[in-house]
Amino acid sequence: MSSHTHHDEPFYRKYIWSTDHKIIGLQYGFTALFFLLVGFVLMMIMRWQLAYPETPVPIIGGLLGDTGILLPETYNALGVMHGTIMIFLGVVPLAVGAFGNYIVPLQIGAPDMAFPKLNAASYWSYLVGGIVMLASFFTPEGPARAGWTGYPPLSVFEPGQTIWLIGMVFIITSSLLGSINFITTIVQLRAPGLSWMRLPFFVWAQLVTAFLLVLAFPPLESAAVLQLMDRVAGTSFFLPSGLVVSGEILNVSGGGSPLLWQHLFWFLAHPEVYVLILPAMGIVSEVIANNTRKPLWGYKSLVFAAVFLGFMSFIVWAHHMFLTGMGTAMSAFFQTTTMIISIPSVIILSALFISLWGASIRFNTPMLFALAFLPMFGIGGLTGLPLGIGASDIYLHDTYYVIGHFHYVVAPGTIFALFAGIYYWYPKMTGRKMSEAIGKLHFWPSFIFMNGIFMPMFIQGLAGVSRRLWDGGLESAHASGVLQWNEFMSISAWLLGLAQLPFIFNVFYSMKFGEKVDENPWDSTTLEWTAPSPPLPHVNFDNIPEVHREAYEYSVPGRKRDFTPQTVPKKG
């Protein structure tokens, strides 16, 4: 067999042009963590302007021009890049590209992904997209500044959008290549005996996510190309006739519709929310099952809820567009689907809460992050309700309430789940555990400051303060009662930044000095823990494992150990 060929591989073959899913997963992981940091730094700069409007930004002020003040054009540009980088270059690549790539083949007992070269192509396309996005900071026009949602006509007129669209095309292509690979791998390469209902929930979550990506991204890719044509080839897919911009009649053929873009964009971007949240739920489920020492409660209902969630996520998109002039029938349809999709979310969250009952809970760092995910995602999900109902959305639409809502879903929600995953699977990737003490030093401040940033957003939102205001509402009469929160949120954001230093240190420190552990340090049941740590290059397992049981046989009465790995044959 080829199990020993890896010894002959030169460095660049092994770590750079690799087709091994584990190396690609790590490449995705480190790149995505880097982008998360970049996206967060952009926000820390923006929060200076919001806290202390029109005062020079300390430290990096020199980069912002003579005055050191963050100008509206830069503020808008940083806003676009924060959103784009966090979602498309940070969270999704980490949740899907990194964890999906590294863990899914191991959890299904496969030697690699089904199409290793496609997998590498996916990473490199992602990296090119990311570099294009970063490069936009250094072009004469600067980065895009028409919102991360890129609504035309503004996006057709504003500078910087062309390079953003080109970057998006690479990023989308990367996701398409990746998702095809995930679907094929999970359908075809499961180990003998690993039937659908024996799959760890994480694999189910990744499977549904892959379907969302492969079905929802193509419309956005076409939309991005159409918008690119509107900008560079004089078409007007998204431009109606008769526009007057800055006193000049716009010389285009017209006949297009700005709303077409919104439909195409949200047709992706709503399922994208579940692309962010499903892998997170998957990770949290693994960590909770393992650290409660009992099976997930209602495994089947979790699976069906996730599949249903994925399906429904395709028919809720227009709830982002209630205020575009939508009639009664259409708004009733989208309000109804939006309420329907809340039910599987309630099922999943309830099942995870109920899983805690009767447990023997180990409060290690991955578990702390996974536990914190539950109420944080709960807040994020619940605050989606008044936005999903048209009547209350009239008032709350495009306010900070929305910002608070989706950040609770993504930041203390998904990102906490990703941290849980990093702490949990780190021993598999390195053979060492991350430091628990430093991990807790990372968790507690992060938990506090996350809430310090996002909770006041609901207050500002209730007051009606709009998002995307350069002055943070200073000029708006209705914001006068809630302006004082801006400074509080900003300071929380900077402290949250500080709180990430222990994590960065821990990742590198523990590679060398972390506690050495065997292949299954958490006493877990799923297949990835039967492979050596780190798993063998290209083949993962010494022998392809055979599966005899369901995913979470913890604390089965009458057995000596409180866990029975999936590979242990049933007696008789």
Partner: protein, 274 residues
């Protein structure tokens, strides 16, 4: 709950649509509150009761009942009630009950958004809007491209960022934009509507309080002395943050005299022209 939300930001409303919208905001927040407290209590009890040091051996089965299905059904039922009982009717009235000046005696105004101002177009005494044409647009002289020679156009007048409406009268605004997407928002009146290029979208509302009465109510709050504003709620470019108009809700008499003064101003202006 309403008091709680008001304490945390929600301003008082001053329109006939306000009570309905505030009611549904309150009801949803009750639902959120109950679910969160319910989950939260269960969560904290579980964490304390089932920590490994106290409960070293986990129970394989855990919760045996399927009571949580009741929770899920209950949430579904509440949502159905919210939708059918509150959300659908509010929306239907919002988009279908558009008043006209002929039948409902509504005040009819056109609002044309542009980067970064609100043009407010009144039809004048005859109640007929003159035509507007793109090629007549002149940012200095004629920002909305009004054709004075068209039928009804001679007595039209427009203001920039100044909108006056009478209290307790139905108002209809036909909303459009010259350039990009804007969003016409009157937070205190619970009114919001995107202005979409290429479309004219009707918005309607009725104020229940004059600006003066409102300012009196706000006298002891941080908002003291700051009147009502037309907010742009959709990113529209660099000047988005400073795009705002001023809304004055007059008594019927004050509104009439304001209309008269605008008409007089228009006459003097026209005289200057010749």
């Amino acid at each position: 709950m309403l008091e709680f939300l008001k304490h945390y930001g929600l301003p008082i409303h001053l329109s006939t649509a306000g009570p309905g919208i505030d009611e549904i905001i309150v009801l949803i927040h009750w639902l959120m509150f109950i679910l969160f407290v319910g989950w939260g209590t269960f969560f904290i009890i579980s964490l304390v009761k089932f920590r490994a040091s106290k409960n070293p051996k986990a129970d394989h089965e855990g919760v045996k009942s399927h009571l949580s299905s009741i929770l899920e059904v209950a949430v579904a039922v509440v949502e159905i009630v919210l939708l059918i009982g509150f959300a659908f009717p509010i929306w239907a009235s919002r988009v279908n009950d558009v008043p006209t000046s002929a039948e409902d005696g509504a005040v009819h105004i056109r609002v044309i958004a542009q980067q970064f101002a609100w043009n407010i177009h009144y039809p004048g005494l005859d109640g007929i809007f003159g035509e507007t044409k793109v090629d007549l647009v002149d940012e200095e002289e004629n920002p909305i491209g009004l054709d004075r020679s068209s039928i009804g156009g001679s007595d039209d007048f427009y203001t920039i960022n100044q909108m006056h409406i009478p209290v307790n009268r139905k108002i209809r605004v036909d909303l459009s934009t010259k350039d990009v997407i804007h969003s016409f928002k009157l937070p205190e009146l619970r009114v919001a509507q995107d202005a979409i290029p290429g479309m004219s979208i009707p918005v309607h509302f009725e104020a229940t309080m004059t600006s003066e009465e409102y300012l009196q109510k706000m006298a002891d709050t941080p908002r003291k002395g700051k009147g009502l504003e037309i907010v742009c709620a959709q990113l529209c470019g660099l000047g988005h943050y400073r795009m705002k108009g001023y809304l004055t809700i007059d008594t019927e008499t004050d509104y009439k005299s304001w209309l008269d003064s605008e008409a007089q101003y228009l006459e003097e202006y026209e005289d200057d022209e010749w």
